[in-house]
Subunit: 291 residues, 2 copies
């Protein structure tokens, strides 16, 4: 069984980017610059943004964190977006979700300049991806593709079952896996909460990508011998024995599933770090095309 | 076996639109107006455009046909696009494909104002569709959804196998069928030229949507008893016995498949007319939101 090690792969890719930054950004060429907008004080969002900023700094990017209280109005946030769009020093930026309830996430997303949309959720970028055109891909599915690529997992002609149809993971990874690309070129089944005979469908999969958000949903009897399993879930489970009182588990029952697989991602340390690496890669692309 | 009659369904929907046009467009309100741009003299393109224009007139729309020789430059065509974007009298327009080789189809597509993009192929609209947001949907998959809706074909929780992954049909119909909508909410498998065990995959389908462009590819032994079959193919087959020397066949071996199905579309007279009806519906939407 191969452990698809997202920490290791991320570290390799980030070093490659760091080398590019060092080589390219000399004399008159400034470093790539990612900005992050964080509204309110959701602890998980704070952690995510902190990790993204730290990863930027590691590879030699400039970074800017814009923090505002949850009481910010939509107009004020749209003004920040406009400033970021207009600022030639900012190559790309993210608006960390979720936003406070009184703010229309969709309106904010539409206001982002697609050329700086390194999260890849603007319809213009999402549409280009769906049409198979070059664009920024959303970070999580892009990170999965990078991981499969680095481990040279064969996907061509394989049957890939995607569990979940979210805009963030399920739908875009299904699109990417179905395209005539490498990795890609897979037969893709999009399964979800309404799917009948899910167990049988999973049993026939060469590749399972689990993105449901249900702890340890994928059991050993759903996975066939020699399958590749990618676990996108990050769920907290009570664990009185641990110092924090909980532990992180994925959407896959790892201890029982892993021995049957050809390759599998751990949680944590699988897809998670690759997501941030994909964001770093997108920021490089946003930066590089200007020069 | 239910014949999913695209001619009849189209005629019903077009009459409904005609009634809306008659009721809404009085006094100061002009009729919806669709323009079509036709470059060169490809006979099939001429027929398609003629049928679209005729359908517009039937429902009481205004229509404009812009014909230019195949020698037109890309700049000239872009200028026409700009004029159409700027003309407040034009609600929507289509640029009939294929375009001459020296013209970059992608650049033309990007130049279309998404608000007038009644073909739904601009990345902005395609992305909104992929994200499950309101937008113009491409005509063929939209026509299929309308047909399934009118015949109240149950799709919720069903397994739908889409044969083909084109941007025009396969990819968008897979997206639409997988969304939490009615019709929709299906488990969707996207199969294509690289798919292994295609026969077995089709045998397990509750719904097959064939969009490969291979005459009579779907045989009786690939379809399970009681399945719903939607045939998107329109292929010419030599037929010395017919007046024209050929006949139109779909991607499905209709005579042998039909008796096994719960419901099936004929070719011609199935998806074809629904495609034009979807365009008419999109043009109504483009028009109506202005008033």
């Amino acid at each position: 069984m191969i452990l698809l090690d997202g920490n290791h792969t991320s570290s390799v890719i980030r070093k490659e980017i760091q080398v590019k930054v060092t080589q390219f950004c000399q004399n008159d060429v400034r470093s790539p610059h990612l900005a992050a907008v964080l509204i309110g004080d959701n602890p998980a969002s704070q952690t995510y943004v902190r990790n993204k900023i730290r990863a930027c700094e590691e590879v030699g990017y400039a970074s800017t964190l814009i923090r505002k209280p949850a009481t910010i109005t939509q107009e004020e946030l749209l003004y920040i977006i406009k400033s970021l769009n207009d600022d030639p020093q900012i190559d790309g930026y993210i608006v960390q979700l979720p936003l406070p309830r009184h703010i229309d996430e969709h309106a904010i997303n539409l206001a982002i300049n697609p050329e700086k949309d390194v999260d890849g959720f603007h319809p213009y970028n999402f549409g280009k991806m769906a049409l198979g055109l070059p664009s920024f891909h959303p970070a999580t599915p892009m990170g999965i593709m990078m991981l499969l690529d680095r481990y040279q997992i064969e996907t061509d002609g394989k049957h890939c079952v995607v569990l979940g149809r979210s805009n963030i993971v399920g739908t875009p990874i299904a699109l990417l896996m179905s395209k005539k690309t490498k990795p890609g070129n897979a037969t893709v089944t999009i399964a979800h909460s309404r799917t009948n005979q899910l167990k049988e469908i999973c049993q026939r999969a060469d590749i399972i990508i689990a993105a449901l958000g249900i702890p340890m949903f994928v059991k050993s009897d759903m996975v066939r011998e020699g399958a590749v399993v990618v676990d996108v879930g990050i769920n907290k489970m009570d664990d009185p024995g641990s110092a924090r009182g909980y532990r992180l588990v994925g959407d896959v029952d790892f201890p029982n599933v892993a021995p049957k697989t050809f390759a599998i991602t751990p949680v944590p340390g699988g897809v998670g770090p690759m997501t941030i690496t994909a964001l770093i890669e997108n920021t490089w692309k946003a930066f590089y095309k200007k020069w």
